[in-house]
Subunit: 276 residues, 2 copies
């Protein structure tokens, strides 16, 4: 008998371990925004070991788009520093499988393609600082309007490492001019989640032609008195991995993040004791 299917609202009061358990047994395949409040959610990149050293160097050199929060042992699907029971083959609600730089499949379980040479890399995500902005009554337009955050290819060069490089992808959030400094201060406290903005104001300054035409996600309205503010985006490492045309690379599907047991405001992203 297949497991009972749960909805997003069934899970909103559940702890991180319970959400992961539901995903693991195949009962939930939806997005993770708003689930396990207060816990770190992560972008995911799984790649063959022979590319892992260069990819870790790339992340270290580009900490704002690629904030490294967890790295697995080669061939080991566990990530004990992010959650004692995490099995990365089953605990993400939807995965994308890329081969030679092309999307080949979207699946809810990667047990059948897991291999002894695969290394899991987890990177912070913007949910963390968005939650903090909302707590400070700073509007987050795409959340208010039920859309996906607008994302743009910028002209900002990344620091390369091995086959990895290119330009940064950024997100844009319109912020009332009087609250831009506060938004900057709040997000700067979350280096594990892209940190402070990369830029604010004229999109042309960072090579964006038209804010009404995002490269991914949905355009959002900028109200009078608001300033477009740009943050480094977790789509950056996904793009960079695709451009490197690795023979195999697995990521989460957009919005379907890995939920960790680490508190999103913890000083480090390393669990030392099981969370309850």
């Amino acid at each position: 008998m297949p497991p009972k299917t749960l909805s997003h609202s069934d899970l909103t009061k559940c702890r991180a371990t319970e959400v992961r358990a539901a995903i693991r047994r195949g009962a939930y395949a939806g997005h993770t925004a708003g689930l396990a409040a207060g816990k770190l959610q992560c972008n995911l990149a799984i790649l063959p070991e022979r590319f892992a050293l260069d990819f870790l160097r790339f992340c270290q050199r580009n900490p704002k788009p690629c904030p490294l929060v967890g790295v697995g042992d080669s061939g080991d699907p566990k990530l004990p520093t992010l959650g004692h029971d995490i099995d990365i083959r089953t605990d993400v609600s939807k995965y994308r499988v890329f081969r030679d730089g092309a999307l080949r499949d979207e699946v809810t379980d990667i047990s059948d393609i897991w291999a002894d040479d695969l290394v899991t890399v987890a990177l912070g995500c913007s949910f963390t600082f968005e939650n903090a902005l909302l707590r400070a009554n700073i509007p987050v337009r795409h959340i208010e309007t039920g859309r996906n955050v607008p994302m743009y290819r910028s002209a900002i060069d990344l620091v390369p490492a091995g086959p990895f490089g290119g330009q940064m992808v950024v997100t844009m959030r319109p912020i009332p001019a009087a609250q831009v400094a506060q938004a900057r201060a709040i997000s700067s406290r979350f280096p594990q989640a892209h940190g402070s903005p990369i830029a604010a104001g004229d999109p042309a300054d960072i090579g964006i032609a038209n804010l009404a035409q995002p490269d991914w996600g949905d355009a959002v309205e900028i109200h009078p008195g608001e300033v477009p503010v740009y943050w480094a985006c977790g789509v950056t490492p996904q793009n960079v991995l695709l451009d490197a045309r690795l023979p195999l690379c697995i990521t989460h599907s957009p919005g379907h993040m890995l939920i960790a047991d680490v508190a999103e405001d913890a000083e480090t992203t390393i669990l030392t004791q099981p969370e309850t």
Copy 2:
């Protein structure tokens, strides 16, 4: 003709690039405490590429003793994200060369042993938060008394990675009880430099038998009303590297740090523009 030898006081007003230039041409081989004020100083570990992935995983899993601030390309002695002109073969005033886990040499230049498979890893150091404590009028006893900070082997287990693991080395600074919370808050702002304390109070809680007998450095007096406060120490990765008995490993000599062009209070440790 050998270069003119400079003293520590000759260099106290110099910029980071000038201090490195003096070291590079063989004019200075002393310690770097107090030089290039405001710039990040770094612990150094150079190791063969085949151990680098595990070592980076180890640092990611132990961010308080091993705050990763820079990683070089394999075989490349440059570290452009820390300083545009850095050549790691010549720009540290004194190096230690270890083979099979034993100290074999202490030298001022490693050009003759540099090899195509070596990877440089730079880690933050406690000078950064000590400077911030002093600016806030929090006493730092070993600096007041002209000694080396006392360092102790603790019983705190590290998160292992490959051949790397063991227990954390900690430093101890006696802090007036009324200033412990402030010292914690200040140092927590420097994750690139060991962050907030690991523990405070009874040394037995973290497996230290006798504060009067440090394993490295000098014992310091604890005055009435002061609490011993413990921070993760950059000797931890050196110890872990030695215990792993790598065929070759090069570190800085204690107190002879790599001086970066990165500001010690920068949001990230990655230079994007040349510093002036």
